[in-house]
C-alpha cells in the first residue's frame, strides 16, 4: 500500500509537470508575445540540446561546480568548528555570535564589490563571496544543533565520566549531527545562490556567464535553457545528495519512522 502511494505521488508530480509544459507551449503558440521573447519549451529544449552537444553547457557546469565545491568545503571547514565553538565557549557566544548574526544580515552578493577590489577579477573573488554566503549559515545551524542536544544525553555522558575530546567527538557532535546535516543542506543552497549571483555580475565562465551571454545576444531560448539547467542541477544535488544523507542520518538516529 505504501508503494502504491508512492507511485501515485510520482504520477501526480509527472502529471503536473506535463500540464505546465503544455500550458507553456500553448501560451507561446498563441502569439500574444513575440516568439523571440517567449519561446515554448520545445525551442528551449532544442537550445539546451545544442549547448549540451557543443560542450558549452558541460564546460560551464564543470567550472561552476568546481568553484562551488571548493568554496563549500572551505565553508564547512570553517563553519562547523565556528558553530561548535559558539555553542561551547562563552567568549564565542557573547562576542563572536553577535558579529556572526550581524554579518548574516548582509546578503552575500554585497561582498562582491569588496572582493573584486581585494582579489581582482579572479576566481578567488567568487570563492570569497560564496564562502561568505554559506559559512555563517552553517555556523549558526551547527550552533543551534549543538544547543538543541537532548540535555539527558549530556547528563548521561557526565555520569559515565566522559570528558574532553571523547565527549566533544563521541557524544556532542554525533548527537547534534541531524541538525548539522540540515545546516549543511541549507549552507549548500546559500552557496549555490551566492555563486550564481556572483557569476552573473562578474563574467568569468560558468553557468552565470552563460546566462549573461544569452541576454547580451538576445537569445531568450538560451537564457531559459540555462535556467532550466540550473534548476535541474540544484534539484539533483539537493535530492540525490543531501536528502539521502539527511534521511539516512535521521533514520539511524530514530528521528523518523523506521519504515
Amino acid at each position: 500500500m505504501k508503494r502504491e502511494g508512492r507511485w501515485k505521488a510520482y504520477a501526480q508530480k509527472l502529471g503536473l509537470v506535463l500540464l505546465l509544459l503544455a500550458a507553456w507551449e500553448g501560451t507561446s503558440r498563441l502569439g500574444v508575445w513575440s516568439p523571440h521573447l517567449f519561446p515554448g519549451p520545445v525551442t528551449v529544449a532544442e537550445s539546451l540540446g545544442r549547448m549540451a552537444a557543443d560542450g558549452r553547457l558541460w564546460e560551464a557546469t564543470v567550472r561552476s561546480m568546481g568553484r562551488l565545491v571548493r568554496a563549500y568545503l572551505l565553508s564547512v571547514a570553517i563553519g562547523i568548528p565556528l558553530g561548535l565553538l559558539t555553542a561551547r565557549l562563552s567568549f564565542f557566544r557573547n562576542a563572536v555570535k553577535p558579529v556572526v548574526m550581524g554579518l548574516q544580515a548582509l546578503p552575500s552578493i554585497c561582498w562582491l564589490p569588496l572582493a573584486l577590489l581585494w582579489f581582482g577579477l579572479t576566481d578567488t573573488a567568487i570563492l570569497f563571496v560564496v564562502v561568505m554566503g554559506s559559512v555563517l549559515g552553517i555556523a549558526i545551524a551547527t550552533e543551534d544543533a549543538v544547543n538543541g542536544v537532548d540535555p539527558q544525553l549530556i547528563r548521561v555522558a557526565s555520569t559515565l565520566g566522559v570528558k574532553g575530546l571523547r565527549f566533544q567527538f563521541g557524544v556532542l557532535l554525533p548527537a547534534a549531527l541531524p541538525g548539522i546535516v540540515t545546516g549543511l543542506k541549507l549552507g549548500w543552497s546559500f552557496a549555490w545562490r551566492a555563486l550564481l549571483a556572483g557569476e552573473l555580475l562578474f563574467v568569468s565562465g560558468g553557468l552565470g556567464q552563460l546566462l549573461t551571454v544569452g541576454r547580451e545576444l538576445m537569445d531568450v531560448p538560451q537564457v531559459m535553457a540555462v535556467m532550466v539547467a540550473i534548476i535541474l542541477i540544484g534539484i539533483t544535488v539537493d535530492r540525490v545528495l543531501f536528502q539521502t544523507v539527511e534521511v539516512r542520518v535521521r533514520r539511524r538516529w530514530g528521528l523518523e519512522g523506521a519504515m
Binding site: T159, L160, P174, G254
Partner: protein, 303 residues
C-alpha cells in the same frame, strides 16, 4: 489489648523492623543534609541516612518529598546547601566513577547500537579495546538482551531500552548504583519483569543500590530497606528494614500485607503534612512524626 497488638505484630509485619545503622559502619553516610532550591523552597531538611555496603535502599515518598534531590546529592549532581554526604568516609564533591546514576528514561545514545552503548561506557572507564566486546556481551546477556546487540535504541521497546541502559550501568561497575524511578515509565507487566531482573542481578552482585520510587509495592518488592520521606520540608519519617526472603514474588501475601501497612503510613504522612504546610514549614510537623516513629517501633521490639 496487648494481646491483640501482639497478634497484629505476629503477622508478616514483624518482618518490617526499624533500621539502625551507625555512621562508622556505613558505606554511604548522610548527615544533617539540607537543600534549598533558589534559597527558598526547602527540598531537604536535617536528613540523616546511613547505608551499609550491599544494601538495597528504596527512598519512598510522595512527590516533593526530596527523594530525588537526596539521590542527586548522593550522585554529586546536586550540591546540597547544607550538611555532609560521604561515601566510604570520603566527602563527595561531584560525580565520580564509584557511583552511577540511572534516570527514568533509558537515555541511550540513539546513534549507537546496544553493544555500542555498552562498549562506549567500557571505553569511558578505560577498559582496553580488545576486551570491550566480550565484556559488553557478558553484560548484555546478564540483562537478557542477547540477540539485540546490533539493534538501535529506537528499534527497541521501552522495557528493552531500560535493560540496555541497565547493561550500560553494570558495565560501569560502580560500587553504588543510584536509580531515579527507572521503571516509572514502563507498563505494569514490564515493570514486574524489570524488578525481578534487577533483583536477580542484585542478588548476584550485591551492589549497594539506592532506588527512588513512589510505588510502595515496588519499594517492598525490591528493597532490603525502605526509607519513607515526607514533603514540606523534605525529610525522613521512617526507616524500615524489610526482612522478607529473596527472591520475592510480586503476589506474595506477606509482601502485600506490608504494602497495605506502608501505604497506610504514607497516607498518614501526607495528611499530616498538608494542613500545616502553608502556615509554618519549619520544625513542628517533623518533630511530631519523628516521635511517632520510635513509639511504633517500641511495640515492634516489645515481644
Amino acid at each position: 489489648m496487648l494481646r491483640a497488638l501482639l497478634g497484629r505484630w505476629r503477622s508478616s509485619l514483624r518482618l518490617l523492623r526499624p533500621a539502625h545503622v551507625e555512621a562508622d559502619r556505613a558505606k554511604i553516610s548522610v548527615s544533617q543534609l539540607g537543600h534549598r532550591y533558589g534559597n527558598k523552597v526547602v527540598a531537604l531538611e536535617d536528613v540523616d541516612l546511613n547505608v551499609r555496603s550491599g544494601e538495597f535502599v528504596c527512598l519512598l515518598g510522595p512527590s516533593g518529598c526530596g527523594k530525588s534531590t537526596l539521590l542527586y546529592a548522593l550522585a554529586g549532581q546536586v550540591k546540597p546547601t547544607g550538611g555532609v554526604v560521604s561515601i566510604d568516609g570520603r566527602r563527595i564533591a561531584g560525580p565520580g566513577p564509584d557511583r552511577f546514576l540511572m534516570f527514568q528514561e533509558a537515555a541511550l545514545f540513539p546513534w549507537m547500537t546496544v553493544r555500542g552503548n555498552v562498549t562506549f561506557a567500557l571505553a569511558a572507564r578505560g577498559v582496553p579495546r580488545a576486551e570491550r566486546k566480550d565484556r559488553a556481551e557478558t553484560y548484555i546477556r546478564r540483562v537478557q538482551l542477547q540477540g539485540f546487540e546490533d539493534a538501535l535504541p529506537h528499534q527497541l521497546s521501552g522495557g528493552m531500552k531500560m535493560r540496555a541502559s541497565l547493561a550500560r550501568a553494570l558495565a560501569m561497575d560502580p560500587t553504588v548504583l543510584l536509580m531515579d524511578e527507572p521503571f516509572g515509565s514502563l507498563d505494569a507487566q514490564t515493570r514486574i519483569h524489570m524488578q525481578e531482573l534487577l533483583q536477580s542481578i542484585w542478588l548476584r552482585t550485591h551492589k549497594t543500590v539506592v532506588f527512588v520510587t513512589h510505588d510502595v509495592h515496588e519499594a517492598l518488592m525490591l528493597g532490603t530497606r525502605v526509607v519513607l520521606m515526607a514533603p514540606r520540608p523534605g525529610r525522613i519519617v521512617r526507616d524500615l528494614e524489610v526482612h522478607l526472603p529473596m527472591p520475592r514474588h510480586p503476589e506474595d501475601a506477606a509482601l502485600l500485607e506490608m504494602v497495605r501497612h506502608v501505604a497506610g503510613l504514607l497516607r498518614e504522612v501526607e495528611h499530616r503534612a498538608r494542613p500545616e504546610a502553608p502556615a509554618a514549614p519549619s520544625s513542628p510537623p517533623p518533630r511530631a512524626s519523628a516521635h511517632a516513629a520510635p513509639s511504633a517501633t517500641e511495640s515492634v521490639r516489645g515481644p
